[in-house]
């Protein structure tokens, strides 16, 4: 089963064009959607989660027309929103059970078993009888993924799941996601590059409502090999450099400014070849650089 998105566009009443003619096909497995805040990721996620309608375009999930037959999609959907709340006084196990009921798990025994298993998987078993209002940020996110996983979803949409989590929690969360069956279409939307590089076998970079790059991360990184150069400079020199060279990124390393530049050969004295990472791909796309590999 594939998720086929065609020519999706959306413009908000305040004039913002959130989606510009987005076309994409996603198969089973982890697909990362990378992009800065305001790129249109959440709009796309919400549309795919049947919560929002686009202005034009179509989406098919397998045989189902997602925009017209939302109810059918919801039966197959698991959704972890970017921001969500919980009923603070309700116990975790009770709310998970309730959400399972609403998902369609009518059989009480089966539901109980499912809920318990998910609580174990998300390492929330010990906290199952605690009120959700007492959960830390990481625990809440794990609860979120637990409710998204109820009912064996075929399409799992995860929107900015690791923002605000400390490193330990992020690792846990990555572990959880990686265990999801490979026959499930998982769409992971994030602005944290390492989420995509750690988890996803395919990705797209989204910027200002458009899909800029759709590629496997490894290929994208490989495409930069040999074309990335770096040099450590004083802060005051950055401005002059940016005029003449296409800067990919400027960042601080141990307190000093390191610039990276995209060029076929060393652009200036003092530049050494850099080992590209996914992050560089990201920055490059953002700056509109042409990343087509010269190699075939």
């Amino acid at each position: 089963m594939n998720l086929v998105i065609e020519n999706l566009s959306k413009r908000y009443p305040n004039g913002v064009q959130a989606l510009r003619d987005v076309t994409l096909t996603v198969g089973p497995g982890m697909f990362g959607l990378l992009g800065p805040n305001g790129a249109g990721k959440s709009t796309l996620m919400r549309t795919l989660a049947t919560l929002q309608d686009p202005d034009t375009g179509s989406v098919r999930l397998g045989d189902i027309d997602l925009l017209r037959d939302k109810h059918a999609v919801r039966k197959l959907l698991g959704y972890l929103p970017q921001e969500f709340g919980v009923y603070p006084k309700v116990k975790a196990v009770d709310l998970l059970d309730h959400l399972g009921r609403l998902k369609g798990l009518a059989d009480r025994a089966l539901r109980k078993e499912t809920v318990e298993a998910l609580l174990h998987r998300t390492n929330l078993w010990d906290a199952r009888n605690r009120a959700l209002g007492t959960f830390s940020g990481g625990m809440k996110q794990r609860f979120g993924i637990a409710q998204a996983l109820i009912g064996d979803p075929r399409l799992l949409i995860v929107d900015e799941p690791t923002a605000g989590l400390d490193p330990e929690e992020r690792v846990r969360f990555h572990d959880l996601l990686s265990e999801i069956s490979e026959s499930v279409i998982v769409l992971l939307s994030t602005h944290i590059v390492s989420d995509v590089s750690d988890l996803c076998s395919r990705m797209a970079i989204m910027h200002q409502g458009e899909l800029r790059l759709v590629q496997q991360p490894a290929e994208a990184v490989a495409g930069l090999r040999g074309r990335l150069w770096e040099r450590t400079v004083e802060k005051s020199e950055v401005a002059k450099l940016s005029e003449s060279l296409s800067l990919v990124s400027t960042r601080l390393v141990a307190g000093r400014t390191r610039v990276r530049v995209l060029a076929d050969a060393a652009p200036a004295p003092g530049f050494v070849p850099a080992d590209p990472e996914l992050e560089d791909v990201y920055f490059a796309v953002r700056r509109g650089a042409d990343l087509r590999s010269r190699a075939a």
């Binding site: 309608d53 919980v86 009923y87 959400l99 059989d107 998910l118 390492n123 078993w125």
Partner: protein, 1194 residues
């Protein structure tokens, strides 16, 4: 800094549309009330006791009005003052603000001042609206007095500002300390609670002070202080800080300040910065984790599963609501409120009635209904917004829960809440009844009334509330819309929309009578409920179609979505619902507008106006024959609510000219089958709308000759009506009177009385009666001009299970053709004042000498029969000795349904409403308990002398001879039965009624001699005057005077006596030194201001006590509008010294000359209280200061 914060707040508010909307609302409200109270709106009358003579812009009117509207602002006050700090919590700006270098005082003070400033500006709208309304051309000029700035400003300073301050403090405190808005709204509810509790307590004159203090808005405090202001005072006096009003303002302002101080102390920036999240101990890795596998999912979307989902959703929503603390607070507030109403259920003269279920339901459900409405409105919003408020909406919306289940579950949960609250009402009612020792619970009635009627109507409102919140996709605007809607639906009848088909969730009034149950109101109830439920179902379907799922959309997008969602099932449901609504609506309309005439208040008044406009000129002075005999057959069909009349009136021409035109008037409800005269007639007028039928006789009636009017009339009540159905012809408890029988000539009594109402219908003002000395008056009695005394005979039939009661002796009773027949004959001539009653009675028989006594009553109502029997016997005893023999062989009391609350005296037959005498609970063990069944019985029996033997002429003072003397007679019976303690309490109530009545007088007050059917004068003032007189000159002297009146005028025809006859007789038996009393009390309007300054006593060596009293006394006389002048005082006033039990050690009249008097007495026992006019026999606006405790020196 503080001002900067306040200024920011104010500027913010000014940028928002809602502020201007609020301003507009207040402005319009104020203007509307002024216009309505001034009579500028044709169908609307609003009267807060202003009567017709108080200027609409008088200081008193404006103070009342502005206070009332200020209390409406509670909701808006809550929103503004609450949001003042809550907006920071809501928008999460607290981390930004609280890390700034501002102090607590600056933050709290600034926010509070800002909110208060906005509220002040908004409140200006009230004064402005009122002022502009008085300038509008539609305001009748007569109602607008001189404009005084003070009249507008004083209420602001004394009432509106303190009210705003108090309310703002309360809501501010709640928002700051709880950081949530729901408690703020609950606070608003509780504030209104204080007000309603106060209203309940104020009904009883003995608790008015408490009521005045409990009311945070000050409206009741104002009322307490101005209650007795005369019309002139209301027009000129500015409200001042005095008495209860002063204490009320001090108390509540103090509370406001204390609350703010408390808030200040408890508030802390760090606490408010955010709740600390608990960090659990470092999480150990779950060992089971690796082994556990998630079972394969089996998803079930069958309808059975969907129903299960629905059930789960309902349970969750209900649980979350009911568990919440604030829900508990609201319910508690409601229960407290019910508890406050409990003591006052049905009290009359301070004596409670047995808490019969129908009364308990009326009082408890009525008072709690407001709370249910508030809860319903509040929680409709909470339920619709619950997921979004919790941040869970996106999760929920992406789940495959069917939309109908979600919407239906919310609606069902809301219905469940309402059902729960109604259960609270039932439980409270039963508890109240049990607490009063009354165990006849009638649970079936509770269920029928609360769940069969109230619940259904609330359910319709729930559906509407949900739809409003769904369509208006903003929570607070949704609330506002619902409040506006509720306000409008409350006002609709005032605005002239009276048809219940047009008023959402409204059904015709359906009073419940123990005798008649819901009677003929069941049919309209069922049909209207069906109609509104069908509409509510349609609304619910629409709500489901527009249900918000996912991110917000424009309305056009939502409309498209709704149309897309309209599938076969919802379409069918919507279609069926609308079809049912249309069908029932059509059926209802046919009943209420086609089968029966559609009556509104205005149309009924208009019919009366038309009667006068069409016929007064033509027929008013037309000479008519007199009716000398009525012989009729009456067939009552209670099950069909039908009555057939077939009778003959004998007419005699007692004038000196021949009469050829005869005008007959009958009730407009009649269907006239035929009216004929022997010798034939030509019909000149046949006017069904006013009931006038005029004929020209083929053969004129010569002077002294007689003829007969043969009439056949039917009263039919097919189907049901919107309002105004005939409550006299019912299934059990029929009571028809002279209105249903033909009368001759033009009836001035049928004209519109109230000058304001007359003006609305295009009529000028009218005098209420002929002048006392008008020479034309004595020719006619004031009951009816068309007869003096008549002979009466009737054969009345009814269904086999009912009995008939009518005036006269029951000669014969038989059964025929499955119906029962009764033949009544009146042996002596009586006045043309007849009645027929039929019901399933139980009859009690007794005797007094050779008079047969009967009480025909509803089987369950046996509570007061002993009082009534005692009343009948004691009265007959006393009156026979005092005034003369009783003229009939029988005396009957008959119960009729409580649709009206009065008792009336026909010849030998006294119909008595179930509501005022049959369920009274006379408190045993309380020495001053007022036995009002006995009192009312004695009063009605008294009418057999005053009204049936002696009847006054139709002029001013007519009721002094009839009602005042009946009152006096009843007072004497009570005095002998119960003693002076009871009289003191009773006279206090009469004094209160007199003073309140004169304050609300719409035309002019008059002295007792010239009373124009004003109840507060002929009943209440009359009681005081006559009781005071018999204390002065002695009971025997008064009775002798009255006996002379009976002997001279009893049983005679015209010329009828006027009140001057009474006064002359009393003067003949009053010593010279007391003659001033009769002048003061009958011919003038006299008020005293008496008080005891000091009361001391010392013990004498011989064991007795010397008592010294210092008294201050003033006398005033008033004109028709209450403008008073002080006059010199040379009067005999009663002075009393009472012991601890309240018995009189000394009670005698003493002569007073001038304002200050010192008196000494010797008493045998220890004096406890002493003073002047201890029994409150004199009209005194401050009766409490007549007595004071005696200080006994050792």
């Amino acid at each position: 800094m503080l001002l900067a914060i306040a200024g920011f707040e104010v500027r913010q508010r000014l940028h928002r549309v809602s502020t201007y909307v609020y301003f507009g609302v207040f402005f319009v409200l104020a203007a509307f009330f002024i216009l309505a109270a001034g009579g500028a709106i044709p169908n609307a009358t609003v009267d807060f006791g202003t009567g017709g003579k108080v200027d609409i812009n008088s200081p008193w009117s404006l103070a009342s009005l502005m206070t009332l509207i200020a209390s409406f602002t509670v909701v808006i006050n809550a929103a503004i003052a609450g949001r003042a700090t809550h907006q920071d919590v809501d928008a999460n700006t607290t981390p930004l603000l609280f890390t700034r270098p501002i102090t607590r005082a600056q933050y709290l003070g600034g926010r509070f001042l800002g909110a208060l400033g906005v509220l002040l500006v908004l409140s200006l709208a009230i004064g402005l609206g009122a002022f502009l309304a008085t300038k509008l051309p539609w305001m009748p000029a007569a109602r607008v007095g001189p404009q005084r700035l003070g009249a507008y400003v004083v209420p602001y300073l004394l009432v509106v500002l303190p009210d705003l301050l108090l309310m703002a403090s309360v809501f501010f405190a709640l928002a700051v300390l709880t950081r949530r808005m729901l408690p703020v709204y609950v606070g608003a509810v509780v504030a209104l609670l204080g007000y309603f509790i106060g209203i309940n307590l104020t009904g009883d004159v003995e608790r008015r002070t408490l009521a005045a203090l409990v009311d945070p808005f000050g409206l009741l405090a104002i009322d307490s202080v101005t209650h007795y202001w005369s019309i002139a005072e209301k027009n000129t006096r500015l409200l001042g800080l005095e008495g209860d009003f002063l204490w009320n303002r001090v108390l509540w302002t103090g509370i406001a300040v204390a609350l703010f101080a408390f808030t200040y102390r408890r508030f802390s920036f760090s606490v408010a910065g955010g709740a600390a999240t608990q960090r659990a101990a470092p999480e150990a890795l779950d060992e089971d984790r690796a082994r556990v596998t998630v079972p394969h999912a089996h998803l079930d979307f069958s309808s059975r599963a969907s129903r299960g989902v629905f059930g789960a959703l309902v349970r969750l929503q209900l649980r979350e609501t009911v568990k919440s603390v604030f829900f508990g607070v609201i319910v508690l507030a409601g229960v407290l409120f019910i508890a406050s109403t409990a003591p006052a259920i049905g009290t009359l003269y301070g004596t409670p009635t047995y808490p019969v279920t129908r009364q308990v339901i009326t009082v408890v459900a009525g008072s709690f209904a407001m709370f249910i409405l508030i809860v319903l409105t509040l929680y409709a919003g909470e339920l619709v917004w619950r997921e979004r408020d919790a941040g869970m909406a996106q999760i929920y919306d992406a789940l495959p829960t069917p939309r109908w289940a979600v919407v239906a579950a919310k609606l069902t949960a809301l219905l469940g809440i309402v059902a729960l609250l109604l259960a609270v009402v039932v439980v409270s009612g039963v508890v109240i009844q049990a607490a009063k020792g009354f165990f006849h619970f009638e649970l079936g009635l509770y269920l029928r009334s609360l769940y069969g009627i109230s619940f259904v109507l609330f359910a319709c409102l729930c559906s509407l509330a949900v739809l409003v919140h769904v369509l208006i996709d903003q929570k607070y605007v949704g609330y506002f819309a619902m409040v506006v809607f509720l306000a409008i639906s409350l006002l609709m009848p005032v605005l002239g929309v009276e048809h219940h088909l047009l008023r959402y969730a409204s059904v015709p009034a359906h009073p419940y009578s123990d005798m008649n149950g819901y009677g003929h109101y069941v049919a309209p109830l069922v049909w209207f409920e069906l109609y509104w439920v069908a509409i509510a179902v349609a609304l619910a379907v629409v709500a489901s179609l527009f249900w918000v799922r996912g991110t917000p959309q424009t309305f056009r997008e939502r409309w498209r979505e709704a149309r897309a969602r309209l599938d076969r099932r919802s379409g069918a449901l919507l279609g069926v619902a609308l079809a049912v609504a249309a069908a029932t609506g059509a059926f209802i309309f046919w009943n209420t507008n086609v089968l029966n005439p559609y009556r509104t208040r205005f149309s009924r008044e208009e019919a009366q106006a038309q009667y006068e406009k069409r016929y007064k000129q033509r027929l008013g002075a037309l000479a008519q024959p007199k009716v000398t005999a009525v012989k009729t057959r009456v067939d009552i069909f209670p099950g069909e609510r039908r009555v057939e009349l077939d009778g003959v009136d004998t007419l005699v021409n007692r004038t000196a000219q021949p009469i050829d035109q005869i005008v007959v008037r009958i009730s407009p409800r009649a269907t006239v089958r035929g009216m004929t005269f022997p010798g034939g007639q030509e019909t000149l007028v046949s006017d069904g709308e006013t009931g006038v039928h005029a004929f020209r006789l083929r053969q004129p009636l010569a002077p002294g000759a007689s003829t007969e009017l043969a009439f056949r009339v039917s009263y039919l009540n097919p189907g049901f009506e919107n309002e105004g159905s005939d409550t006299r012809i019912v299934e059990n408890g029929t009571f028809i009177d002279g209105e249903y029988l033909p009368g001759l000539g033009y009836f001035v009594q049928k004209e519109l009385v109230d000058d304001e109402v007359r003006r609305k219908h295009g009529l000028g003002p009218r005098e209420r009666a002929l002048d006392l000395d008008d020479p034309a008056a004595p020719a006619f009695n004031y009951i009816t001009h068309d007869a003096d005394r008549i002979r009466f005979e009737a054969t009345v039939s009814t269904s086999a299970d009912q009995r008939v009661v009518a005036p006269g002796t029951l000669e014969r009773e038989w059964t025929e053709g499955g119906r029962r027949y009764f033949h009544f004959v009146e042996e002596r001539p009586i006045f043309h004042y007849l009645a027929f009653l039929s019901a399933r009675y139980v009859v009690e028989h007794d005797r007094w000498n050779d008079v047969a006594l009967e009480i025909a009553h509803h089987p369950d109502h046996t509570y007061d029969l002993a009082s009534m029997r005692r009343g009948m016997k004691d009265s007959l005893d006393y009156f026979t000795r005092a005034f003369g023999p009783y003229q009939h062989p029988v005396l009957r009391i008959v119960e009729f349904p409580g649709y009206a609350t009065f008792a009336e005296s026909f010849s030998s037959t006294i119909p008595f409403s179930e509501a005022i005498g049959f369920i009274a609970e006379v408190e045993k063990g309380r020495p001053d308990a007022i036995d009002y069944p006995l009192y009312v019985t004695a009063h009605e029996v008294g009418h057999h002398w005053w009204g049936h033997q002696v009847l006054s002429a139709d002029s001013q003072g007519m009721t002094a001879l009839v009602e005042t003397l009946a009152q006096y007679s009843a007072l004497m019976v009570m005095k002998h039965a119960y003693g002076p303690q009871v009289m003191r309490r009773f006279l206090r109530y009469e004094l209160d009624r007199y003073l309140s009545g004169r304050s609300a007088e719409k035309k002019k007050e008059l002295p007792l001699l010239r009373v124009e059917d004003q109840g507060y004068i002929h009943y209440s003032k009359g009681s005081l005057v006559m009781y005071g007189l018999q204390d002065l000159i002695g009971e025997d002297a008064v009775n002798q005077a009255l006996r002379e009146v009976v002997q001279e005028y009893g049983d005679k025809g015209p010329p009828y006596p006027t009140s001057r006859v009474l006064l002359a007789a009393l003067r003949r038996h009053t010593p010279e030194r007391f003659q001033y009393y009769l002048t003061d009390q009958f011919e003038q309007i006299t008020l005293y201001e008496n008080r005891v300054v000091s009361a001391k006593a010392s013990r004498r060596p011989d064991g007795k006590y010397d008592v010294t009293l210092e008294l201050e006394t003033h006398k005033h006389q008033a004109d028709a509008l209450g403008v008073e002048n002080e006059v010199p005082l040379h009067d005999w006033l009663p002075v009393g010294v009472l012991d601890a039990k309240g018995d009189a050690l000394v009670l005698e009249p003493r002569k007073f000359e001038g304002p200050r008097t010192t008196l000494t007495f010797v008493t045998d026992r220890v004096p406890a209280r002493a003073g002047v006019d201890p029994l409150n026999e004199l009209v005194d606006r401050i009766p409490e200061d007549n007595l004071m405790p005696v200080t006994v020196a050792r």
